[in-house]
Symmetry: C2
Subunit: 325 residues, 2 copies
């Protein structure tokens, strides 16, 4: 199975490193909107201009779309689904129905399979919510993120005047986690679920009190949370805050029995050293499924909910029944 | 969708209570090998002799087989797959390939869908192993059970001469869990993973030291574990040990990156007040999938690996994309 990447940022490199670990997939090309000669891949796979992508059509069984959800994917996924099997990590939850409709139209008309919103949230966390809701229809869902770096929030802090660099960590509140794990099914406000911690390198002479105030009162990003701001040196920042760890937990707390007398808690927890590499690993195995579904004659837009798990692995059905069931 | 149960033990009552919670399924009959007049269902659904099951063929979309894996299911599942869509919880891991082959032959020939080995282990834990292995091919699996009642081990203790009644709890070793959660990928022996705790009501005048010795040295069941035996009164036993809680954890600890430099831990954890009711809830939503697959024209034997998650819920595809993705 031949794979290609469109884009070469953090996520694309995560997919590249995951494909290298597989036995049944080969990365044949990276396509970029930049000057191809300015992009060098870690694995040495060739880089081409996206303008030339149709030249390489025959060597692409699945195209991984590695752009952002704000402006890239809403246009790219339908556009490339007209010519390729594609997979994206579209994560603007509110716009998923609209994105699905556009991608489904393009992929159905062209006879390709196009998967959207793959990764860990949306993606594995969505799967866990679905399984747990199906098993325990009488119950409540909880999703916590972190401890980990939110790139959107880090970007927001970097846009504050006087900030040279910044990383923002999202942290679940231990008391909230404890209450959910104990089956107390608490009602939790935004503030009760997560805290936010910022590590900021300020420009020389900047007004630190004003920066801190600007961050803590920023609507949507910080004003609904308890936020801590640490000013640190650039040296410390470069030493301690270069990685992109993340993770989180999905819970369902539900009841069974003729009078709802028995409680059950399902927890799915991810602890990730590298968010882009784990996301890339998830996309890689679902990319395998996209290719297999297409070979079987499937077309149209798919999500993680539509994929039978056996399609994800390179092991045979006999092997998985013998070793994993 | 019309469902029926074959057998009416703990698991069957768990399925019965789960079907009562659904909006799209109706329990139409219970079939028993006992005298039907001696069996009274909690929900009031009628009980018939299994000898008459063919009379009710038209009112059974899915037949839940609630027998045991040792002798009932190896015969029953192929037998009834010749006439019905069926689902079982066959859990003798070593015999799954052979059971699959027999059931697949019967269901393929009769044009039905027959699902085997459904529940939480095998079942949800198997799914978690598959997803996690597909995402992190370079890694190690760990499965822990408990704290919870093992019915097989409780039965084994009850067979010791001088034992009037007994419950056995399987307990994961905290230090082993801790090491796995920390990403240490330890090599663990049987003894290092779980301890066993027995609560025993002895017959009057029985030799307690001999009973304890018989339990602790019992091959397969206890000799490879650190086991604690508590002798308690019948009153205490009836007060504190009537429930069937269980649960456990599946971990995958894996690495990504061009040099395996990033660690990731996936954990799936179940904390269950009632093992049979949770197992029944899992079987109920996979029973829904069996029926839907059959309506679409599928035939043959299926496992949890073959079922796209969207088939499990009564929500529409639009709803799950809007609310769970």
């Amino acid at each position: 199975m031949k794979a290609a990447l469109l884009g070469y940022g953090n996520l694309a490199r995560g997919i590249e490193s995951a494909i290298v670990q597989t036995k049944d997939m080969e990365l044949t090309a990276v396509f970029t909107r930049r000057d191809p000669s300015s992009v060098k891949t870690i694995s040495g796979v060739p880089v081409y201009s996206v303008d030339d992508i149709m030249i390489y059509k025959e060597s692409i069984d699945v195209l991984f779309l590695c752009g952002g959800s704000a402006t890239d994917l809403p246009a790219q996924t339908p556009e490339y689904a007209a010519h390729f099997n594609v997979i994206d990590s579209f994560d603007t939850h509110a716009n998923i129905p609209q994105h699905f409709a556009a991608v489904n139209k393009a992929a159905s008309e062209s006879g390709h399979v196009a998967m959207i919103s793959c990764g860990w949230d949306p993606g594995m966390f969505s799967l866990m919510r679905l399984y747990a809701n199906a098993i325990l229809p009488d119950g409540q869902d909880y999703t916590f993120w972190g401890k980990g770096v939110s790139q959107g929030h880090s970007d927001a802090v970097r846009r504050v005047p006087g900030v040279k660099d910044a990383k923002q960590y999202t942290i679940p509140v231990p008391a909230a986690l404890e209450a959910v794990r104990n089956g107390e099914t608490p009602e939790l406000t935004t503030r009760q679920k997560h805290t936010r911690e910022c590590f900021v390198v300020a420009e020389e002479g900047a007004d630190l009190a004003r920066i801190e105030q600007d961050i803590k009162t920023m609507p949507n990003y910080f004003s609904d949370y308890d936020t801590t701001v640490h000013f640190i040196s650039e040296e410390e920042f470069l030493r301690d805050h270069q990685e992109l760890p993340h993770g989180g937990m999905v819970f369902r707390s539900g009841r069974t029995g003729f009078s709802g007398e028995h409680k059950h808690i399902i927890e799915y927890k991810l602890t990730l050293d590298s968010n882009p590499e784990f996301t890339g690993a998830v996309l890689t195995c679902f990319g395998r499924a996209v290719y297999r579904l297409h070979r079987e004659g499937a077309t149209g837009c798919k999500t993680v909910f539509d994929i039978a798990p056996a399609y994800l692995t390179d092991m045979s059905d006999e092997e998985i029944r013998a070793h994993l069931l």
